[in-house]
Symmetry: C5
Subunit: 295 residues, 5 copies
């Protein structure tokens, strides 16, 4: 998640230099081509109405991308909430309150958050969770393609054991199970956002539209007849590319990029909350802010 | 689901050649007609404002179509989540844990996902589910017009048997029933998207609008008075048709087309997850990516 | 629900002829008035920016109308889902499975769907439900102003009887009651859409706006100074009226018009599904497609 | 709620005369000022692009206001649904069915609807509910600042008594309590819409924008140089003010105005439904339609 | 929350003076630069289409910011509702009705509302809650980084004690626990809105776009060739900055600013409601309205 308004210039340049170069070359080419070939003047109304059309489509795309990004953040917010509720329920439903079994559940829940975040970023889903689950359990869940789901299965198994040994009553089991259902659901929602490619043809045709616009604008401005035209074209079209790329980044919030949902940071918050509910003192440091973002 | 940004040119051409041909012919016709008939010049402001109006309506239509597409994907995401929850509940509520009955439920749930996907694509709803349900059950459900609903009925019957034989308690039955209610609901939502035609008059009038626009633009550009006008008209109007068709494809996501919701792939993911929860080894291969899409 | 893209010309003409006539007369009037009176030329920029403004407001109105239409369809989708769940629950919770009582519930549920659809269309709420409920019950519910609600009361009474005679346990009663709560809720949502008039002043002012636009556009185009102006004005302004009327039709989806939510068809689907769950053979024919729509 | 498309002219005039007068004076002032002072001509492109910008912001504001209005209507729809469900549950869960206690609950629920509607309109929250609750109860709830909440407390107390005297079982109590939770929630949602002022700075700046637009448009049109300019300015800018005021009215739907959510009418519908479920004959007349609206 | 339409000029000036100054200097600079350097005239169509594009993006950003603001208000509305439901449940489920334990829960719930509001505004989360919880409990919760969560843990512990001492039955415990789950969820949602920075690159690029627009507009208007250009530029561009800042303020509703969600006021409303349900007389005064806002 970007946290600073003043994004380093280096990052911004890496963001747009390719588009800027393409626009520069297109306008150079049109500039000389129009002078060589007997080309009719295009009225300025044509490219400007196209510019309006593009900004419209862009605004909608930004809206849709923002919604995906915000949905991703909501999903992780729900994971925070259900993690807290799960541990409150485990601690205060269980006949023995804070005990070996409820601690195990709480720590496994912290492991779930870390593991889910890492697997969404296509990193090892078991790295760093050794501290939270027993080595035996670690071996068991490592065999699964979907480690977070395997952790949920472990929760569910513990819950069965709690009911059978009379630590929770039958209604309490169902209530805790409901919290697990919610967590399975949030996990699936995050995977859906990760795995569903934003309609590529939409983006492709928008790009086609922007390039047609630039070419026509370059021709229409040809009568200005001076090299001033080129920086002007670049500075008019660059914001479009910048915003289009902003949309493209927002719509994929789990890609191990600075614009990501800050899953590492959220998982640590969960870990701190859960450990405090267990009265533990070994709290991790909050995730540090990088140059201008937090992961 | 399209998964690649670089869509093959062949596919794109098939996508737009018809509209391109119509625009080409309209502009040819206007080009010669205006020269023959004493036709007044139309100010350029008229077609450009219409172009803005069209892009507005198009942007809204894209938004609505995208929402349908995303809703379809959410429904299938919910089926993934509820399938996982169902099997977690069956395994860990049932007194005997993993047993013949819970395996049957899990495999039938995989069959449900495959069968629903196929019936939404108007293919045989029972093809390929022989491996998941007993032949006796297959015969029973084949008689139904709505096979996935019949499979839910089988689940529900199993659940009744589980309660009566004391394998689950009364609260657990209700909790599992709630998961079935959710699955019935997701199934119905997918059918709703499949069976509800996007308002056809909306699309028709938008097409009328675009054609009026092209004719007026062709007349307004007549003063350019050269054949350059024709490629220009085509390149201005083509993005509109491309985006309109993108919308039209997005709004019907269960049509056995490359732009479909990737139901085969999702059903296989469900199958893999459920089999791993049963510690089975006979996992299917994930659905392969076609040239530029995945089904 | 319109199901065909090619809507008959007759229907389209009935749809727009009035607006076309008004625009025709307005432009005729302006055409001659401007020639008679010493009227200043209005720059074209004025009507074109108004046209953009109108298309914006129209696009938003289309969006809101579409949302109402889609919400109506969702409500009926939820009725399908809850009808199926209700019968699955009745059959598989009831100690005797398929019996006289559960059949009664299933058939009454089919009656509910038919009755609700008819009362939303301001037709008799009891017509055609004689085949589904006993004549005694029919007399009882006919006294009510709200027949579908009375049918829900009958369901609820049956449920009480089932609990008291030990056919379902206490949790099962609550779970079935939850399904009834959902059905009462869907019924109320459909009534809300039916009874809430879309803000009329919104529509009125949009019409005022469109007429101001047409008058100003007619004046601005007066310099073209030929009768060509009149068909042009009609063809520019007609799409606006067409889309406005599309919006007006979409926003009231229960008016016994071709653009309605296809409630008869949905109620028949429910009837078929429920009868198949009862292993009955007397399935109705699906609702036939009219010329270009299905009711 | 406005129910007629033909709103009386008197109402419309009261709606816009102030804005019309201001625009008239501004254009008169500019008309003479520009002739006196040596003022440069402003190109028409400036005010027309501002007009487009304003219509955009206006369209969004209309969208947000409409959403608030529709949300208000949804909240009252939910109150209808939950009132019906509450009485169905009370009648069919209670061991004695229709009895003094269930009648009391049903009538108190009708009182709740009337009382909530009146308190949202800042009228007496207890006026007219004497017929529905005992005088003793009336005294008790009158002491509360929030009468509808006090009525919910009375419901909750009755429910406790029903459980303790064995009239409902423990699950039925929870299920009815859930309906009360929903009613408390709907009540709070209506209060939220009532008490949350739509961002005033948003409206203020939009007004600033519109006035800048009018002044610039008046200057730009100065070259027309005749008194025709003034009615034209008024007729161009009036739709903006009309639509802005429509938005302003929609966003506050509980103000005892013709554009209100029709709470009196809805509360009477609730009363009729509940009385019919009790087989009572003393139904109130439906709320009559005023000249062009229903309260 | 701003409650008055007439915002003091002082506040408005502080709101925009910086942007006004920058625009003033930019236009001064362009004014003289264009006269010095041989700079080509830019057609007005360029900046006006950019102005339209900016207003589009701005309208969308306003929409998204408004949604965040409204979501924040909804979250606090849900806290009001669940606080009321919690106390209704505690009072009417508990065997002893109003007693020392239920009073403790009600007062702690008021403390929760105050504490959450303060911690969202980065003020002390325990200030002012001494009157609501015992000093022993205060010490216990003060150790936590997340005081509201610790208060929820106290609720949950009380609930456990109530079940174990037979004051509530097993179903009632679960129903109250559900209310706690909802409160934990609302708390987490408010934290999500507080902690998630609105995409900063989006805002940055929009600013870039606005500045490119101002420079180009200044150049395009250079032909007016008089100092009138400068106030005009300022008055055209100021509404954009005002609306952009309105959006920026709306999107962060927990910053201890006049535009905040009125959390202090809402917490006091909760306190009053809960105390009245306990028949207490020591009601606090409602939060007073400041000059033009309420906190």
């Amino acid at each position: 998640m970007l946290v600073k308004y003043r994004i380093p210039l280096k990052y911004l340049l890496r963001f747009v230099y390719l588009d800027a170069a393409i626009v520069f070359m297109v306008s150079m080419f049109v500039f000389f081509f129009v002078r060589k070939v007997d080309f009719p003047i295009i009225p300025l109304g044509i490219p400007t109405f196209m510019g309006t059309a593009i900004s419209l489509l862009l605004a909608f795309k930004l809206g849709q991308s923002y919604d995906r990004w915000w949905e991703a953040r909501k999903v992780w917010g729900a994971i925070v909430n259900d993690s807290r509720s799960l541990v409150l329920q485990a601690l205060n439903f269980h006949k023995e309150g804070k005990c070996e079994q409820t601690e195990r559940i709480a720590m496994r829940q912290a492991a779930f958050a870390h593991s889910l975040g890492q697997s969404l970023r296509e990193q090892s889903a078991v790295k760093g969770i050794e501290g939270f689950v027993s080595s035996e359990e670690l071996t068991r869940v490592s065999k699964h393609k979907n480690v977070p789901l395997a952790l949920m299965n472990e929760h569910s198994r513990d819950l069965k054991q709690m009911l059978e040994s009379g630590k929770v009553n039958e209604y309490q089991q169902i209530q805790i199970d409901q919290t697990l259902v919610n967590l399975v659901s949030s996990m699936g929602k995050a995977e859906r956002i990760k795995n569903t490619v934003f309609p590529t043809s939409y983006r492709l045709f928008l790009h086609v539209f922007i390039y047609v616009f630039i070419v026509l604008l370059a021709i229409a401005l040809a009568e200005i007849d001076r090299l001033w035209e080129i920086p002007m074209l670049v500075s008019i079209s660059l914001p479009f590319f910048m915003l289009e790329k902003t949309a493209a980044y927002l719509q994929d919030p789990f890609e191990n990029r600075p614009t990501d949902t800050s899953m590492t940071s959220i998982a640590k918050t969960i870990e701190i909350n859960l450990k405090q509910l267990l009265d533990r003192e070994d709290l991790p440091d909050p995730e540090p802010v990088q140059e201008f973002y937090v992961m």
